[in-house]
């Protein structure tokens, strides 16, 4: 393992900020793995730390394939992470909206450039990303429709779902989008947590990456093949929203099978405890996402459900 400082930023009153990369193997640039780009993506750094420890062992035992190399960047934004802030510590800009970056531009453009210039020539790019809303997902590989995405390849992670959605204008400055445009086959992996550690879902993400690398002859690793992934399109999912605001009392969790009419959650009055609204499933299906806030605004997408068509026995 070799540790390298990929980018360093001076600060007038703080320690310098260093973005570090951890290299394994040698030869062609096979896969680059990026953890946190935001300061609250604790789980994403945690997953990288677990991967680095596995890669270190694989390297020692000669199980990284000849001529293949791996690089892991656990954290692009240590300055924000150390003060508990999601976006950039001074101007609140989002580094994951600054790619491919610009070496003569503003601070976060320079950070993005410092990272991108080191990661843009890898064959595969894997990013552990997070959603802007608090909540939980079924672990999945997320892809944007860019014309370059390869959903069949994404199934090699063996996660239950590969989720594909239309790219929006603001997506064009993310790491994932720019990786794709520059020829890297890029995947974002979503797990159950962001600003806390969920060990089970971290292990699932680690296994998914190892599974993928094993299938593509980058490492030699005995592992469970995982799921036969199903591709779902963003437009297939059914949004379930609430009309009233209040406490969000969740009854159905992620991966629950629900029937049309099942109660997914209740919204209760935060002062009197009265039930203001029962949130019912409009379809038979599987819960792909649920919001995570204890108190909820009205008109919030609380659940996203994969419709299954036929009624199924609820599993709670």
């Amino acid at each position: 393992m070799e540790e390298k400082v990929l980018f360093e930023l001076g600060s007038v009153h703080r320690d310098n900020m260093r973005v570090k990369g951890y290299y394994f193997g040698s030869g062609e640039h096979s896969v680059c793995i990026v953890g946190a780009t935001r300061g609250n993506e604790i789980q994403q750094v945690y997953i990288c730390s677990k991967l680095i420890s596995v890669f270190e062992q694989l390297e020692i035992t000669g199980k990284i394939r000849e001529g293949k190399s791996i690089m892991v960047i656990p954290c692009v934004n240590p300055h924000s992470m150390n003060i508990g802030k999601r976006f950039w510590s001074t101007d609140n800009t989002d580094i994951n909206r600054m790619f491919p970056g610009y070496c003569l531009g503003e601070t976060t453009q320079r950070i993005a450039d410092g990272v991108f210039s080191n990661v843009s020539d890898y064959e595969y790019g894997i990013q552990f990303a997070s959603f802007y809303m608090q909540g939980s997902f079924i672990p999945h590989v997320r892809m944007m429709k860019t014309g370059f995405e390869d959903t069949e390849l994404a199934k090699d992670f063996g996660l239950p779902y590969v989720y594909r959605r239309k790219a929006k204008p603001y997506d064009t400055t993310t790491l994932n989008y720019n990786w794709q445009i520059w020829g890297t086959k890029a995947f974002s992996i979503y797990t159950n947590a962001t600003d806390s550690i969920d060990d089970d879902s971290a292990s699932e993400a680690v296994n998914a990456v190892l599974n993928f690398l094993n299938k593509h002859d980058i490492i030699e690793y005995d592992c469970h093949e995982g799921y036969i992934s199903r591709l779902i399109e963003g437009s297939e999912l059914v949004n379930v929203k609430n009309e009233t605001a209040g406490f969000f009392i969740r009854r159905a969790g992620v991966n629950s099978r629900v029937r049309k009419g099942d109660i997914l959650a209740e919204i209760t009055d935060p002062y009197t405890g009265r039930i203001l609204e029962e949130i019912k499933s409009p379809v038979n299906g599987i819960v792909f996402f649920h919001a995570g806030q204890p108190v909820i605004y009205s008109n919030t997408p609380l659940y996203r459900i994969i419709p299954t068509g036929v009624p199924s026995v609820p599993v709670r």
């Binding site: 930023l9 007038v12 802007y132 204008p169 603001y170 400055t173 002062y271 009205s298």
Partner: protein, 309 residues
């Protein structure tokens, strides 16, 4: 008449409301009147538009009989942000001006964005007032995407601003309020002026004069107006950027909106710990400083100035 454009229930005994005030001619509406919409407060730390909303209505009310069309004033597109001194949308930490045109079925910010678009749609002109941010001071200017320049430059020239910047198109900017409205045929001008968290009264008065001049052009006002300033109009190629090469405390040596020559001293980046100068900044071109760093602490890459050649 105050109207609610969008409303969302908040969990603990509060409603979030996007409000507008509509002023109509004294004698009522015939149905053929044109409408101008003044919007501001998308970013909660930009306050210059607050004074403009007040002053515009004060002057209209002084000569109400001169109003011949509809004036809609939206002082706070992001009320939670303004109230909590937060640039983005609190609780989501999202830049509201990257969410348009929004979605009726989306989360709270997207839902509100879609309601705002449908309410503004059909205006003869929308003026979207911004105030830079807390880091930079801007001269009164209109910013126009090159894709809309044919329609917008004639309207922008009425606004009595010092400068019109026609900037190149960028995909990421397709999520702004102005782009989303221009693309559906509602002409929208973005005004940038002053600095975040402050009100620069003279800039506000200058813009209000310009809004009356545009209202007259559109047939919404038949009272007295000033002759608008002849603005400088430029495209990207004539704008140069100066970014900090080091971190430290920036102390300017030039004044905002003044001419500089190539090699002139723009300012220094100081190190308060050692008493040394980390960087001395000089202009690389002749021109006018139309953007100048206001917030002193800088990191490598922080924008120090923009100079118009």
């Amino acid at each position: 008449m105050v109207q609610v454009v969008a409303s969302v229930g908040l969990p603990i005994d509060e409603s979030l409301m996007i409000k507008k005030n509509r002023l109509v001619p004294e004698n009522g509406l015939s149905g053929n009147e044109k409408r101008i919409s003044i919007v501001t407060g998308t970013h909660g730390d930009e306050l210059e538009g607050q004074y403009v909303c007040y002053e515009l209505q004060r002057r209209i009310k002084e000569n109400y009989s001169r109003l011949t069309g509809i004036v809609d004033v939206y002082p706070a597109l992001n009320p939670l942000g303004i109230d909590s001194i937060t640039r983005g949308i609190p609780a989501f930490d999202l830049d509201m001006n990257r969410l348009f045109p929004g979605s009726e079925n989306g989360s709270m910010p997207e839902y509100i964005a879609s309601k705002i678009i449908s309410d503004l749609s059909g205006s003869a002109a929308v003026i979207d007032i911004h105030a830079s941010n807390i880091f930079l001071e801007e001269i009164p200017q209109v910013r126009i995407n090159e894709l809309s320049k044919e329609t917008l430059i004639p309207l922008a020239k009425k606004l009595n601003m010092d400068y019109i910047w026609v900037h190149s198109a960028a995909t990421v900017l397709e999520s702004t309020l102005a782009y989303s409205l221009n693309v559906i045929g509602t002409p929208t001008l973005v005004v940038e002026m002053g600095v975040g968290m402050r009100i620069t009264k003279k800039y506000g008065d200058q813009l209000v004069d310009g809004i009356f001049s545009l209202m007259k052009e559109l047939g919404i006002w038949n009272g007295e107006i000033i002759t608008p300033k002849e603005p400088i109009i430029s495209e990207d190629g004539e704008v140069s950027f100066i970014n900090a090469g080091n971190s430290g405390v920036f102390v300017p040596a030039v004044e905002h909106w003044k001419n500089v020559k190539k090699g002139d001293h723009i300012g220094d980046i100081l190190d308060p710990l050692t008493g040394e100068i980390n960087e001395t900044i000089h202009s690389e071109t002749d021109g006018i400083v139309f953007t100048l760093r206001e917030y002193p602490i800088v990191s490598e890459g922080s924008l120090i100035a923009r100079i118009l050649s």
